[in-house]
Symmetry: C2
Subunit: 252 residues, 2 copies
């Protein structure tokens, strides 16, 4: 672990850079234990606080995770690369593929805790969908579990009168999902807006997403618009922030 960094950076950052490079080079693989405070203190001749700061850098970057009493380990879960615009392209769901198919590569996705039903629209949702207060909406709740790790809770709302009788009201909405069905119903989504906020999780969210402490959640509220600007779906998503890199790529 020779230090090749710039002399101007603080020492803990140089130690962190060494560790990061060693992990990147495969010297420590997923799930491997990395040197702890005592080992870094000896190897770099630094104070405990400096070693701790260096380990803190990698942990805050999601590269490593501390397991109480056992040490610090390379995270074995590879974050999901969520290409926001590409995944929602009409050619994806229009050809019967799921939106998730562009995210998960060769990984195993399980959808559980599926609940589909009808209820009165929450105030904020009614506003966005342009519905009367307490108008009926179809609600689709799901949890997404990737490689055994829960990564997202999702709740979608659609005007009940719009989707009545379609597969959207069933647990399995069919090939291409909700957006493909909306297209068949004459309400094809042509535009999407995603609003992203970040906060610490509630106790419920932490449990449902198996979050380690100190892990924020990302909240994405997506609205799907049909031709003419009518909002046809609002989707509230709560993501384990450590499981995701969100990516948006667009022209200037």
């Amino acid at each position: 672990m020779a230090n090749q960094g710039s002399g101007r950076r603080p020492k803990y950052q140089r130690i962190a850079a060494d560790l990061r490079a060693a992990i990147k080079a495969g010297e420590y693989g997923p799930g491997d234990r990395v040197p702890g405070e005592n080992e870094l203190m000896a190897a770099y001749d630094v104070a405990r606080m400096t070693a701790r700061q260096a380990l803190g850098v990698l942990q805050s970057e999601g590269i490593t995770e501390a397991r109480k009493g056992a040490g610090v380990f390379v995270r074995s879960f590879r974050p999901l690369r969520r290409r926001g615009i590409q995944r929602l392209a009409a050619e994806t769901w229009g050809s019967g593929r799921s939106i998730w198919s562009t995210d998960i590569e060769d990984r195993v996705l399980v959808v559980d805790r599926v609940e589909v039903g009808e209820r009165a629209a929450p105030v904020g949702v009614a506003e966005v969908l342009g519905l009367e207060r307490n108008a009926a909406v179809c609600v689709r709740s799901r949890r997404f579990v990737l490689d055994g790790k829960p990564v997202q809770l999702s709740v979608s709302y659609l005007p009940a009168e719009l989707v009545a009788g379609s597969a959207i009201t069933r647990e399995d909405s069919g090939p291409g999902g909700t957006y493909a069905r909306l297209a068949e119903l004459g309400h094809k989504p042509v535009r999407f807006r995603e609003k992203i906020r970040t906060r610490m999780p509630s106790a419920d969210e932490a449990e449902l997403l198996s979050l380690s402490s100190g892990t924020p959640v990302v909240h994405i509220c997506r609205t799907a618009f049909a031709d003419g600007g009518r909002a046809v779906e609002v989707s509230d998503m709560t993501l384990d922030s450590a499981s995701y890199v969100l990516e948006y790529e667009f022209d200037a």
Copy 2:
């Protein structure tokens, strides 16, 4: 504060909805104290835990903030609506306006802690910019303070040979900023990619951004691409998550 919510929702959510509606209606304005646990317990005849959960909902949504010993107050800082795609449109910086002009509306933006210099490219940056390891980059560091609240730390990296002698190497990069200057140099950005991650802040970041405890930061890494796909800038941004709503709107 009559409860008009659905009877199926948990009680704390209905109380939170009432408070949210009252704040929205202006019954409690920015900086005002809202009813605390004791008052909610009495008004709704609920246990302390229920009142606490209700207040927790609003706090986690960034609508209110707790001040130790003083109570719970309506946040007086209105989050910044950052329209990711619109703000980077070539017509903005091409016409001499700053990217920020689309974000800040009528608010007061101060840019401080400006440092511009040259140094060896960090490993990750060199990779993205297609530079040799340790090649020289122009580094522009800034802090953005909106209405007196620090909201973002930003560090931009550009290939030093590309920008040598231009206003990009000076503190004030001129009308339209870095992207307008790159265009003049024949390296007009035509495409952008933003990668978003979230994590808890380091002690330094918490101090520089005046974060209240339990507030995550959002890390955005933007790459600007010129015609032909050459990466001409990498920008590392660290945002106070409570100060921002990120928004991306795009066609299906």
